[in-house]
């Protein structure tokens, strides 16, 4: 009895020594959180995104109200997010376009900022593990992004309720929450990119520009590039055989799916439009006999599973790279 107790105690002590945190992670997390939430930068960006998204909501609600009775009324609550009205794009387009900016803004000077302020060596001389610094910054960034996106989403839901007066059903709430979670993952991807750039570039401005360049590339040029490559590989004319046309379309889609922006756009489209069954090319034979209707949430989730895994894997790979660089970086200041 005594012996195993002693052994257990020994084991617990060893466990504590080996796996206990230095306590630094929590302190750094809380400090970064406070910094981010109180920074002017965040205030400006959040206002920008909020104004864009709320005006999109207002226009969407207007057009839904006008079309009451003429259109299908099921899932009307989700249409708040996807309806565009007049010259304004819908809420999801705004978030898809501006979300990366939020992620980039939070991280582009995370490490090189500490370096330039000459606080990094003082910070690392404290009794904390080195990875506490980068983990704390990443987690605090994600927490801030999650707070912002959840706030926006719930704000839109609440205001939408007031505007259109139709309460959401359980499935609609589920879809909306899933949409918000996917958005958080997507923005976290951009946070990890900017964290990596903040390690690779000593100047905050360079790192911010690099982040914006990658963002524009994925948002605007990647789909075009995918089209050019697919057309180059499988040139399609009016007389081309159907296999070639199909192959061209599939290649185009798969190439553009290399871009996280495409992955995210497709995933959110599936989530918020239960009527959509596929985004790829469909042959008439495949549609024959299909009963038009809405997919349940679980089936929509199944459809976007690869997209989700791709986004999470991308985020983790980029963060792992940043982690690796940070752990190996020399911290000399002169």
């Amino acid at each position: 009895m005594k012996e195993w107790q002693a052994k257990l105690k020994e084991f617990i002590n060893w466990w504590r020594e080996a796996f206990s945190s230095s306590g630094g992670l929590k302190v750094i997390f809380l400090k970064e959180l406070a910094d981010n939430l109180s920074s002017t930068r965040m205030g400006i960006l959040f206002s920008l995104v909020a104004v864009a998204c709320l005006s999109a909501l207002y226009v969407a609600a207007q057009s839904i109200r006008q079309s009451v009775g003429q259109e299908e009324t099921s899932f009307v609550f989700l249409r708040l997010f996807t309806t565009s009205g007049g010259s304004l794009p819908p809420f999801i387009s705004f978030l898809s376009f501006l979300g990366p900016l939020l992620g980039l803004a939070l991280g582009f000077d995370a490490i090189n900022g500490e370096y330039n302020k000459r606080t990094l060596s003082r910070l690392l001389a404290q009794p904390i593990y080195r990875d506490d610094v980068i983990n704390g910054k990443f987690l605090a960034g994600i927490a801030v992004l999650a707070i912002m996106i959840a706030t926006l989403g719930l704000l839109v839901a609440g205001l939408g309720l007031v505007f259109i007066g139709v309460p959401p059903r359980g499935e609609e709430i589920g879809r909306m929450l899933a949409y918000l979670i996917v958005s958080i993952i997507y923005v976290a991807f951009w946070l990890s990119i900017s964290l990596l750039f903040s390690l690779l570039f000593r100047q905050a401005a360079t790192s911010a520009l690099a982040g914006i360049a990658v963002w524009l590339f994925f948002a605007i040029f990647a789909p075009m590039l995918a089209g050019i490559i697919a057309d180059g590989l499988f040139p399609v004319t009016d007389e081309s055989p159907p296999e070639l046309v199909l192959r061209n379309a599939v290649w185009k889609q798969n190439l553009s799916r290399l871009s996280p922006t495409t992955l995210y756009d497709e995933a959110t489209l599936y989530l918020l439009n239960p009527g959509i069954r596929t985004l790829g090319p469909v042959l008439i034979q495949q549609v024959i006999g299909a009963i038009p209707g809405f997919l349940p949430l679980s089936q929509s989730l199944l459809l976007i599973w690869p997209h989700l895994v791709g986004l999470i894997a991308g985020t983790l790979i980029i963060f792992a790279l940043a982690y690796y660089y940070f752990m190996r970086q020399e911290i000399r200041t002169s």
């Binding site: 630094g24 302190v27 003082r122 404290q126 000399r332």
Partner: protein, 318 residues
């Protein structure tokens, strides 16, 4: 140092950055409670040595022991014992002085209740008590440096490592800072390692100094013995300024027995004595006879500046 045991030991500590040698075979012992000055020009490897002592950089070969612990293996334990003031210390500009200290205090797991008190005393000790709630952005260079010391006082480590603490501060600020460091050592028995290239400032407060050039430790010891080491086997050089000065005087000096060389340089006359000779006693009488008064007389090689210069010029010969 007597029976005190070394608290920092390095054994053939070596660091190469690619082909560049930053530190080569450093063997150093620093004793508990002493003020040790690591002196050397910029780029001599002082900061690299300090980073290795803290476990922030891994040595290429050899090892360091801080209170018996290897910093590369027990980084956390070592960092609990050592407080480090980096050269040109930085703070978070958007936070107040107190908030900055709170952050390091929390990182060191100091209980909140005690932390408040410690910060108050630390700020008082460095003379920033009235500025605790100001943003660090508004602080001058000297105030930042003092806040850096307060940061260490809050942490209250056994060993203080200060990298170029006096750089860029006005003379009055330097005097205050050095007084503060001396008090830490004398009153609290802390071990203090100061790296600097500013000799005059450091010389007054160090128990022992090590001279560090191009990655190698050239000499270690209390100042007086360093002086003797340098003087041993080297002829004495006298720097002299007299009034009224005429060139005939140079001839008189040349004719003196035991004088090897005489040259005039600006307002000064330089006499080099033959080995083992010291003509200073004769000099005064000689000049008094001719009604020439001495404005300035200095035997070179007796203060740290000369020692330092000597080692710099003698680099490779020693």
């Amino acid at each position: 140092m007597g029976n005190r045991s070394p608290i920092i030991v390095t054994e053939n500590l070596t660091k190469h950055y690619g082909p560049v040698v930053a530190v080569q075979d450093l063997n150093l012992e620093i004793y508990e409670g002493e003020v040790f000055g690591l002196l050397g020009p910029n780029g001599a490897g002082k900061t690299t040595t300090i980073l290795m002592l803290l476990g922030l950089t891994e040595p290429t070969s050899g090892r360091a022991l801080v209170a018996g612990l290897d910093p590369t293996r027990n980084a956390l334990a070592v960092k609990r014992l050592v407080g480090y003031l980096p050269d040109n210390v930085g703070f978070y500009d958007d936070l107040t002085a107190k908030e900055n200290l709170l952050y390091t205090g929390r990182l060191n797991q100091i209980p909140e209740a005690e932390l408040e008190q410690r910060i108050k005393t630390a700020l008082e000790q460095v003379g920033l008590a009235d500025h605790g709630d100001r943003k660090v952005r508004e602080f001058s260079r000297g105030m930042r440096q003092r806040l850096g010391i307060a940061d260490l006082i809050v942490k209250d480590p056994r060993i203080f490592i200060l990298d170029e603490p006096t750089l860029g501060i006005d003379p009055e600020g330097v005097r205050e800072l050095l007084n503060l460091i001396v008090r830490l050592s004398r009153e609290k028995g802390k071990t203090i390692l100061i790296s600097s290239h500013l000799l005059h400032q450091i010389q007054q407060i160090c128990d022992r100094v090590g001279i560090f050039v191009a990655g190698r430790l050239l000499a270690v010891g209390p100042l007086e013995t360093l002086g003797r080491q340098v003087m041993a086997g080297k002829p004495l050089e006298i720097e002299l300024q007299v009034e009224p000065f005429n060139h005939d005087l140079l001839e008189v000096f040349r004719s003196l027995e035991g004088v090897d060389r005489v040259e005039s340089q600006g307002p000064y006359i330089r006499l080099r004595c033959a080995k083992g000779k010291d003509i200073r006693p004769q000099l005064t009488g000689l000049l008094a006879e001719r009604k020439v008064s001495i404005l300035h007389l200095r035997a070179r090689g007796h203060d740290l500046d000369d020692i330092y210069l000597e080692y710099f010029q003698g680099e490779g010969r020693i």
